[in-house]
Symmetry: C3
Subunit: 266 residues, 3 copies
Amino acid sequence: MLELRLVQGSLLKKVLEAIKELVTDANFDCSSTGFSLQAMDSSHVALVALLLRSEGFEHYRCDRNISMGMNLNNMAKMLKCAGNDDIITIKADDGSDTVTFMFESPTQDKISDFEMKLMDIDSEHLGIPEAEYHAIVRMPSTEFARICKDLSSIGDTVVISVTKEGVKFSTKGDIGAANIVCRQNTSVDKPEEATVIEMNDPVSLSFALRYMNSFTKATPLSSTVTISLSNELPVVVEYKIAEMGYVRFYLAPKIEEEEEESKPQA
Amino acid sequence: MLELRLVQGSLLKKVLEAIKELVTDANFDCSSTGFSLQAMDSSHVALVALLLRSEGFEHYRCDRNISMGMNLNNMAKMLKCAGNDDIITIKADDGSDTVTFMFESPTQDKISDFEMKLMDIDSEHLGIPEAEYHAIVRMPSTEFARICKDLSSIGDTVVISVTKEGVKFSTKGDIGAANIVCRQNTSVDKPEEATVIEMNDPVSLSFALRYMNSFTKATPLSSTVTISLSNELPVVVEYKIAEMGYVRFYLAPKIEEEEEESKPQA
Amino acid sequence: MLELRLVQGSLLKKVLEAIKELVTDANFDCSSTGFSLQAMDSSHVALVALLLRSEGFEHYRCDRNISMGMNLNNMAKMLKCAGNDDIITIKADDGSDTVTFMFESPTQDKISDFEMKLMDIDSEHLGIPEAEYHAIVRMPSTEFARICKDLSSIGDTVVISVTKEGVKFSTKGDIGAANIVCRQNTSVDKPEEATVIEMNDPVSLSFALRYMNSFTKATPLSSTVTISLSNELPVVVEYKIAEMGYVRFYLAPKIEEEEEESKPQA
């Protein structure tokens, strides 16, 4: 039997909004340590990893490891019916082909339960090794979202270049070119407004803006985002979920040829 | 001659927004007692009844009973041109084929008059007998609107079941099933936040969510909604208009077969 | 070399939003006196004139007169990437076929530069003679925008009639007719809320509402709008840009035949 009670139910609503654009169907894995998900996007280019640790739940009962296949759009539809202040409980009986989301209003005057059919989804769990990154940038998540959106109006590919002084986001397209430089800045009033750069080696990598923009759907989950970059490794764009875990997005860099946006003549 | 001056003109704007989705053309009936309308929706399934009593107008002159056929979309277009703080006066000369809406800004610096052509509309006035209802639920109108909207993302039909403890709204559809229970709750800070149930007999009836959602367009008119239920009688969903009258929506329950959403095989 | 630094960069963003609906491509003319533009709309009916005087810039360097052809949609896309509190600098090297917009955030932590390709645009500069107007109306720009929008829901043409008492905006269409009268009113709390009429002769002229509505895209630039009317002259709709200049729109009146909206039978 599974029963997970999350007082801050809005977190789960935000998690679904963060990942449902990238992933259509996915297995949620539940064990004694937490509630997690790992899934490729539908074009098998980006990887999403979610972890909500069991300590973050008010009540967490998971008798045995279970993997529940869900359609994320349908799940998001149901979670949208939860109020932002509602307590959300996820329930499933052993061997059941459904999962139930229960929403309790803060005053306990309104109790909803939404039962969703589960799906069988083939998936293999990828081991993601801990890696050393050449550069790690932490910056306000709204700033990163704004930059990805702004650059998308000019081009399709962003080049992210990190030096000790700052991080540069560049693109070019038919109408022109753009460079946005964010300087390292740790002397801010609020720690979440800082831009902090940890760098071992300078790095400059290209990524598809389309995916970066999808990742920024997670912005409501955290006031900061951490971007870990290394040559020959996928970038990790991580949104921490306060005291509970994270949503991480992995995306392979574009190769040189694509970076230059050279188009072969037909 | 007809001259009805309504200081709180925004009420009339809200009335039109409440009913124009259901009803395209309708006769407004004006008599010494008030300004009223009764009309079926275009698919002849739901009935709308509006009453604005003469006492609610600052000035109310209606020399003889008159019925004015109006296209509600056109009327709504004109009323949208009134400011929310404007005084609205409805004027018509005897035998005229037009009606004039006059809008005065609070400072009297801006005076608008909008003249609309009247239409000939066949209609018969249905007598709606006073009835005894098995159960009457009064609840916050925004809560009811939220429930109808939420359930529409899951199914097409809502089952409303009333017991002494509360009212349950249920639906099911392709992706699953949902139940929302609102408990009776009269110990609230503001009376309009209460959920109050008067029940003679338990009742459980099914309705098309599409119509319920249309009814909730009247939510801005009143902070509470009253739902009167009885077996074999249409449900009445009533929004009171402060000190003036009401908008009432009538809808027949779905029969059992439809409730079960059984679809005959072709 | 050209280098124009505008501390209140949001002004330039608003200017582009004000004119890009009317004008697709245009030459910006830069001289020692200021940064200006004059262009017909794409259907050659309305004329737009913009002036930003050099005194309004924090730094203004323009070594020699230069005319830069820009696609206004692309320029607006780039300026949308500037924050509302950003300082904007426009830069161009002599003989270059690009212009650069640089955006500096207030804290200087984020510096962006957007490079846009210039275009060759044929245009002739029209001399607009100073003229005497029969009537000049100054009114709140939001009020004027609201009136144009409201009347558009009824008809296609607005008749603007000015008398000593006030200004009347009228239209008619298939569903009826509308008149909106704004009375002269100078006894207001804030000067920008006044409606002030300077009149030598009464005047009554007809204009296409479609263009008037496009002009009101400039509303965010100024809290007041000035409408200068004269028989046989184009109306001038002017939005002042605080201490820097203006955006002016010119539109020829419709002739009598059109005013009556008579449609010949086929």
